[in-house]
Amino acid sequence: MSAPVGHYQYDRIDRDFLQARIAEFERQVNRRLDGTLSEDEFKPLRLMNGLYLQLHAYMLRVAIPYGILDSRQLRKLGEIARRYDRDYGHFTTRQNIQFNWIRLEDTPAILRELAEVDMHAIQTSGNCIRNVTADEYAGAAADELVDPRVHAEILRQWSTLHPEFTFLPRKFKIAISGSPNDRVAARFHDIGILARPGEDGAPVFRIFVGGGLGRTPVIGQELFDSVREEHLLATLEAILRVYNAHGRRDNIYKARIKILVQAIGVEAYREAVEAELSQMDLERYRLTPEAVAAIRSRFAVPQLEAPADADAVLAQQRRDDPLFDRWVRSNTHVHRDPGHIIATISLKPAGGIPGDATSAQIARLADLADAYSFGEIRITHLQNVVLGHVRKDRLRDLWLGLAEVGLAEANIGLIGDIVACPGLDYCALANARSIPIAQKLGARFADTALQAEIGALRINISGCINACGHHHAGHIGLLGVDKRGEEFFQLTVGGRAENGAAIGTILGAALPEDETVDAIARLVDCYLGRRESGETFLDTLTRLGHEPFREAAYEAV
């Protein structure tokens, strides 16, 4: 088989490793069943194999390293959804996929099926280094400086069953990007890494530490500006060693690295990391150019060939078909090759469940990826899907194919592109149902012409303070709160995960569920009425301050 485009190609040794992991997990399940492992002991072990216990059933979270799949893998996910779940899967904000209705006894079989296509659920949960996320346009975007996927794969390998960092104080999330336009929310991660070209051709890395959302949202701070490639792993080891030794273990809400960085300050953290580095045998931890080259050689590169008139064909088709044109405007991004374009497929149909895809849609996406994008599929941190390398003159055919399965929604980056956590429909910790409110908002702003008129506006919804829906980072954020058994939503505005990361501020008292959609509609009307030409919602908010928006949101209450 030829190597897949976009992700690391396994060999026999990697496959044996996965089989060994499954055999280990199967034994752990048996020890749990025969009682030699207590539930307390089994729990972290199953979590490190992606298996959660939710409100109604087990949930299996499958890793999609740096968000990239090949069509064979995607088809397998569709089959698993059909055979073991209720015919759908849910793509998450960390570029993984979750199956919500899994039986414990099926999990070893599911893991074996995943291993057939070089997939696994290792470290998708638990207090360890989680699946590493990367820019969804990696290796394709015109604005990219360094393709981060080779280093994302290096981090995936390095963190896999790390002997020292598998029992950390709390979970640990790393994201990496090689573009000046942050599409990974680098500053909301435990470690965020921005790669750029160095003088000798090898990349250098800017490293942020201590960002995160959850109940204490914090923007990550710069630890180092320019870490050389050869010292990347040593530096990460040192950062994690300090955290493993000194992170709090007495209170899970204070156990993330962000709390440690806040407590001692970023300067003291940097000194502690440097003290580790000065004692470490750097040669042992050195990431050699040979190792990087060897891993790079396991990635296939797409052969980008397009007819000279590809761009002109697309331009003509856009003029001929305003609906298509609207989709192109919201759902595509500039490719580094002038004959190609990046297409984002929205998993946010108006009134639908953000991030859900049926097995039929999944199978169709795999076919379309084969036909239009070298069999490569990417999952975005906003729960959508990207085809990274579409020939411009074939984009319209792709769009028509998507429309047949209800996947041609033109709302990427617009108000309908809502991120929501599972909330009370699945989650035992929830105060409120995030999905129905997302569906109501989606329905309220269903008109894509209206969405285009409103422009860039991101809504994020979390069902409780744990912030899985990243409400702090939403231009408009909704947080579910419980008031005497009633579902309420607290509104925040002004958050952003992109460049200039900011945490949203609370607009006022929480609103009852049935008044929330109207309040948001009034917020949007306020913006439309008062914006100056070219302004986005965030621009107008910045210029006018919160007061007019607060008045608008609460005027009828």
């Binding site: 290096i154 390095w158 963190s159 002997p163 020292e164 029992f167 493993n244």
Partner: protein, 148 residues
């Protein structure tokens, strides 16, 4: 107390096991017990006479012992025996070994079955990162196996 050896070094039994605080007064002590909150650099003045450092795991989820073992090995160049005791699981056998732990006190419950420990030690033929052990590359990339 049943001991299990994770590597080639033979585990030694010591009758006197003291805390870090007691070390200064006990010239005869050759073995010390390190709690997971203790900083291994406190042992620096005593390394020459110490033959055994026991790392106590209050609960298997508390991973500080792994870092303590590596600090002892990598920074302090401690050449004596490192042992783990307390709440540990056979599932951690290879992690402990790769961080430089030589032996464990087997748990008294079902997790103390030496066959389980033996099996877990050999569960994975390769690793994806360097450890304190002598290793050779099984490329491409980061993969290593133990060099025996």
């Amino acid at each position: 107390m049943k001991l299990f050896e994770l590597g080639e070094r033979t585990a030694q039994v010591h009758d006197v096991l003291v805390t870090v605080a007691e070390l200064a007064e006990r010239d005869d002590a050759r073995a010390v017990l390190l709690e997971s909150a203790d900083d291994p650099t406190l042992l620096k003045p005593y390394l020459n006479r110490l033959e055994l450092v026991v790392l106590r795991f209050p609960i298997f989820r508390d991973g500080r012992g792994f870092t303590q073992a590596r600090e002892l090995q990598e920074y302090l160049r401690f050449s004596g025996e490192i042992r783990a005791e307390g709440h540990i699981l056979p599932d951690q056998a290879a992690f402990l070994r790769r961080c430089g732990v030589d032996s464990v006190v087997l748990p008294k419950d079902g997790n103390g079955d030496p066959a389980l420990w033996e099996k877990q030690l050999r569960q994975f033929p390769v690793a994806y990162q360097r450890s304190v052990l002598p290793e050779r590359s099984v490329g491409p990339g980061l993969r290593v196996e133990e060099a025996s």
